[in-house]
Amino acid sequence: MKTNQNNNSYKEIEEQIVQYSEHIDIPEELDFIVKRAIKEGKAAPKQKHFNFNKWSKKVAAVASIAVASFVGMTNLSPTFAKSMSDVPILGALIKVISFTQFDYHKETSDATIETPIIEGLQDKTLEEVINNRYLEENKKLFEQFKAEVTDLESSGQSAHLGINSGFEIKTNNDQILSIGRYIVNTSASSSTTITYDTLDKQNEIIITLPSLFKDNSYIEVISENIKIQMLERIAADPTQHYWVEGAPNTDDDSFSIDNFECIDANQAFYISDAGKLIISFNKYDIAPGYMGIQEFEIPTEILQDILVSNYYIK
């Protein structure tokens, strides 16, 4: 089958392929995207869900500094003063106020960072701790963004940079307040992360995932249920893809290094209005980037035996 003539003409094709590869233009943004992805990848394994106890200590210690920097921010953003707007969400005493803290718009880069402020808690220390944490985290986010812009400008590149951070009230009823805070990082492609805080409004305590269950068995129970749900979603819509064992279309790549195994003990979660437990995953955690943020509602029936009570989860 392999005559001389054939070999020669293959050589021509081979050369053509090599040439073709060299003619693919390298876009300006590549350098920046690669660097940003490295930064994101380095941070990824350490990206644990926030631990409230750890935070409260740290924040209490720097509370006075936080207040001082709050004043400093007035100079930082000219739109600061007029951007405070009330978003009352319920007639209840506890409410969330929206506060656009950082606004930055230039030709190729813009940032909008909105911080929620919780008001009306009886426990003023808790209120302050939560609000200071939101403020501090967003301040850090903005500092990082500014550093990236300076970085990009000094390298003479003209890629677009954008950051958009805000919050979303997932649940607000007489008992539960669940706030999700998101960060969308945009340029040629984007990344999104979201973290939640769930507050018991009557007892004024932050609800953590482990606190809902009798013991650690919830990790396995929830993880197994999520795996089943992933496969169901793939079966219902073949364009959906999750990194999970048993997923179709992976038979010939045997690429299982990143299959989902189990949730983090403090996995991001919130409680829906109907009292269901919703588990959330950031982009890239359990699926390719195009799938974005992923949420799973865990049926209460399968949790019943291990729940401390049906006080929150119904």
Binding site: M1, K2, S9, Y10, I13, E14, Q16, I17, V18, Q19, Y20, S21, H23, I24, I26, P27, E29, L30, D31, I33, V34, R36, A37, I38, E40, G41, K42, A44, P45, A188, S189, P238, T239, H241, N249, D252, D253, S254, F255, I257, D258, Y284, P288, G289, Y290
Partner: protein, 157 residues
Amino acid sequence: MEPEIINYILQNKEKHYRLAYSYVKNKEDALDIVQDSIVKALKYQHNLKDIAYLNTWFYKIIINTAKTHLQKQKRYFTTDESLLEDYTPPIYDEYRHFELEQALSQLSYKEKTIILLRYFNQFELKEVADITDQNLSTVKSTLYRSLKKLKLLLEKD
């Protein structure tokens, strides 16, 4: 091991981009693939047991990431024809590449991957076999079958 991986990524980013581009044929998706692959590689770096396999390991991630992106593309484009209208009349050199690009798109994902790894990235057949988790003789026969296919497609005109 992280510094080595980062260094490798920085040094090979253009090769990685070109490989990604040849699958999806547009800048945005190609950049997305590069980004996704880097994040995955760093996130799961503990799976790389021996730094000697860094190159083949990383390519394994890229081709699999490209594959999931192709599955996503299918959702939006029923046919490539819609894209063709945007092309301006090509000059000769580019025309040749355009023809090749068209011919490559006629190959299956598996065939294309072997061709690209072998000629784009100059991997030895043994390495191609490692990256694609196939045995050497399968890779060889697929490679020759694909070359034959490409030849026929390019001669048609």
